[in-house]
Symmetry: C3
């Protein structure tokens, strides 16, 4: 049976992890690369299909390039499992973005691994899976 | 005045109910009918306008048919009221789906009744209301 | 170090503030002006670019006009900071609406200030920022 302290801690951890993913969205939408990178652990990984972005330097290159025309992500359906200083989560995402001057819409989900570092939750790994990534005019049909 | 135990329990119940609706979305999007049905009570009901799907056998038929071309739901705006082993909730939903090879978009809301069964929260009833359910190219105008 | 009571209170406050924004969405979507206005403090402010709607009478005029053809908002990515009886938050929003018989889509974010009044959280100020507000057929490109 978990103690009151353990139960409070887990509730606070879940809040902090949800906020981490929310702050990620705001930082992406405002094109703030350094803020995004600071949300990852030093050995953090962002994965998208065959593309693997690993460690601080690569993350800085990847998210630094975002700032020119930032996508707008909306995260939902968050499932979180906390175990001590580590956690795993799955969340859905819808993204509005512009490519070659054209409106695009995307939908997918993240499989996340979180880690507590000096008292703060960070992304140890974000594995991004895409349902579709298409021009809005074409749609996902 | 609620005790610390009661307040912790309600916070945990709210988390568990939010996760139930999140896991529902992931299960629908991956076309996992059995996982969806297991989220309902044995006498669970899914309602959509005049259509009423009631009890395990009917739910299996209804959600089993989903797997061919699963819709992708995104749940938001969740309001929850817990009372002991029962709870009620209202949440908004946006759905991306394909019908006859064409991209459709839907928006609506669920009126949910949840029940705690052997320590786990389940759907006792999902009443789905539709704002619109239209081809993306046509839109909701 | 925060006490158990303080930690529980903050978790409950965060839940109540999230529900405030969720109930706001449901009230907007159902065109219930009085319900929306009651979620603001008596000196509440809604701001959208140069437009400032301030105090109960102006809020009643502004949200009363909504009911004819209500927009449907979806709030996500909520970051909340509680300090006693006040709080600040940032959240993303997607909106589906109809203008001149045509489907419109909007995306933006709210910078909120919340205040606890007689035990209930309300909006002291909602500052609404728009990413785009466009016909669905045109898109955000």
């Amino acid at each position: 049976m978990a103690s009151t302290e353990q139960r409070l801690q887990e509730l606070e951890d879940r809040e902090a992890i949800r906020e981490l993913t929310a702050r990620y969205c705001h930082a992406v939408a405002s094109g703030d690369g350094p803020a995004i990178v600071a949300m990852f652990t030093d050995d953090g990984i962002f994965e998208m299909g065959p593309r693997v972005v690993s460690g601080r330097a690569e993350l800085e290159g990847f998210y630094g390039a975002v700032s020119a025309s930032p996508p707008i992500p909306f995260i939902q359906n968050h499932v979180i499992e906390v175990a001590g200083d580590g956690a795993r989560g799955t969340c859905s995402v819808e993204i509005r973005l512009v490519q070659d001057g054209e409106a695009y819409t995307a939908a997918g989900w993240y499989e996340d691994t979180y880690r507590r570092v000096h008292g703060s939750w960070r992304f140890a790994r974000r594995d991004f899976h895409v349902f579709h990534w298409v021009p809005l005019k074409k749609g996902w049909g």
